[in-house]
Amino acid sequence: MKGNEALAEAAIRAGADAYFGYPITPQSEVIEYLMANKPEDRTGMVVLQAESEIAAINMVYGAAGCGKKAMTSSSSPGMSLKQEGISYIAGAELPCLLVNVVRGGPGLGTIQPSQSDYFQSVKGGGHGDYKLIVLAPATVQESVDYVKLGFELAFKYRNPVMIQSDGIIGQMMEKVELFEQMPRVEPNYEWATLGKKTDQPATFITSLQLQAEEQEKVNHRLQAKYREIEKNEVMFEKINCDDAEYLFTAFGSCARITRKAMEMARAKGIKVGLLRPQTLYPFPVDEFNKLADQVKGILCVEMNAGQMVEDVRLSVNGKTRVEHFGRYGGMIPNPDEILNALEQKIIGG
């Protein structure tokens, strides 16, 4: 199946209650698939094409506030528009699933794939101190699996979760194993607006605390939650790291290209491994720190001008050399140039 369509099917099967979206290339197949497959008839899931990304994310806020499994998807320029709503959702501590099928920027940019929204997703693209849990699929299969996982994590932590995919994963076709249809669940959360229960105070959802002392308490609670997430939810894949003298790191589609470069390097006798973060937040800090004691250098390969590389550097804290190789603006690196960068920047550098 095509990545975007498989993700849409996974949303129906994950028992999502509502999808609100707005068309944008290269992810419009998500809403097209949902509209064509009538999830309203299959599970009762609501699908609505909003008037803008801003409206869509606020519809997600409303539905999520009712304890429902709500989601939206977009691509980079559209994701920028959603940042206001995402900040409110994070502040009000509502669970929801966001999908960003990243394309090259800045501005209207290009419709070609990119990873240049790493900062926006991982560092909090909206205002205020908040974090999204960010999942980075490298295959269509992972995009499907992360829909289910994403909803689980969102409700576990009452926090927005983002699947940060890109135009490659969204547009390519791969074999995929779909999980069985999960039932939609009637919400029964004390934090959700379900209608006031008699003899209980009304529930309200807000991200506003006019008293600074109270707002600091909210922030303390959020930070404690983020520490918990950092402790529990780090995911990564390690390939050929046991005997590695050098390390590649890359995420998403770029990790697949880098893996090819790793195989080419191994064939030449260069002992290089690959560490692929599957969660961009929480970041595999400890794993990088451990490998920094072992390897002579790390090459971070990204389809951007150097974003994740900053987190790699913070993780290894000067213990080993960290360099970046990137193609951007919608360009995709090839394995030869990645291998060449390893030889020039790390081994020969």
Binding site: D17, A18, F20, V46, L48, A50, E51, S52, I54, A55, A56, N58, M59, V60, Y61, G62, A63, A64, G65, C66, K68, A70, E84, G85, Y88, A92, T193, L194, G195, K196, K197, T198, P201, A202, T203, F204, I205, T206, S207, L208
Partner: protein, 255 residues
């Protein structure tokens, strides 16, 4: 104390359960308190306190969720109709309302307002229009009258550079999704009764899944108009009502 003074048989009016006991932050003489109250009274009278979800805006009524004794969500500035859409779509059987001011509804939230109504979202929108941004301290609103002074139009609203006051209610009444559109006021007992009746009608229509109902309440802002409450009501009658005439703008054809 009052229990001793007023015998139950003489009690003609009491506080509605659909409002909390929290002291409202609204300025003396402001119409918000009355507008809150009649909406809350209708909710209680219809027996739907447990089935109602409200959406508060950004503006003076940003803290409305402290006052209404029903489940509420606080929306980002202008986004209340989108938030209400999200709520109503997943809970079609609940009663959903937004409570918004003129800056929220008719400036930053114009797109959300028009499109929610154009989809005929089965919600009630209560639109309180006092022609000014109250919460932020009296800046020009989309509904500020021509020549009216505000902190961002200190020499009066000049239509050449600032546009004309937006009759958003007449505008949205054109949309097929709008089922019942009316403009009311709450500054005199007769108006309060009429406004309450309009809100009741709107929520009854929601029960019947008729589409968006829109109740504008033209109101005052003594603090930012820099008038006493009495003066502000008089000014409202003399200046606001001619431009924003009270009465029904769109009534159901099948009624």
């Amino acid at each position: 104390m009052s229990e001793n003074l007023i015998k139950p048989e003489n009690l003609v009016y009491q506080k509605t359960e659909a409002l909390t006991d929290r002291v409202m932050h609204y300025c003396p003489g402001c119409g918000h308190g009355t507008a809150h109250r009649i909406l809350a009274e209708v909710i209680q009278e219809m027996g739907i306190m447990d089935q109602t979800i409200g959406v508060a805006p950004v503006g003076c009524s940003v803290l409305a969720y402290y006052y209404f004794n029903v489940d509420m969500q606080e929306a980002a500035h202008g986004r209340a109709p989108a938030v209400a859409t999200g709520i109503k779509r997943v809970f079609p059987e609940k009663f959903v309302f937004t409570y918004q001011g003129d800056g929220d509804l008719a400036a930053i939230g114009t797109a959300e307002t028009i499109h929610a109504i154009n989809r005929g979202e089965n919600i009630l929108i209560v639109f309180v229009n006092n022609g000014i941004y109250g919460m932020t301290g009296g800046q020009m609103a989309p509904t500020t009258l021509v020549g009216m002074k505000s902190s961002t139009s200190p020499f009066g609203r000049d239509t050449k550079t600032m546009g004309s006051p937006l009759k958003i209610t007449e505008l949205i009444a054109q949309l097929p999704g709008a089922y019942f559109v009316t403009r009311q006021a709450v500054h005199k007992p007769g108006n309060v009764r009429k406004a309450k009746k309009a809100i009741r009608k709107a929520l009854e229509y929601q029960k019947l899944d008729k589409g968006t109902c829109f109740v504008e309440i033209v109101s005052n802002c003594p603090s930012n108009w820099k008038m006493t409450p009495v003066q502000s009501n008089k000014w409202m009658e003399e200046n606001m009502f001619p431009y924003y005439p009270l009465g029904d703008i769109k009534v159901p054809e099948d009624n």
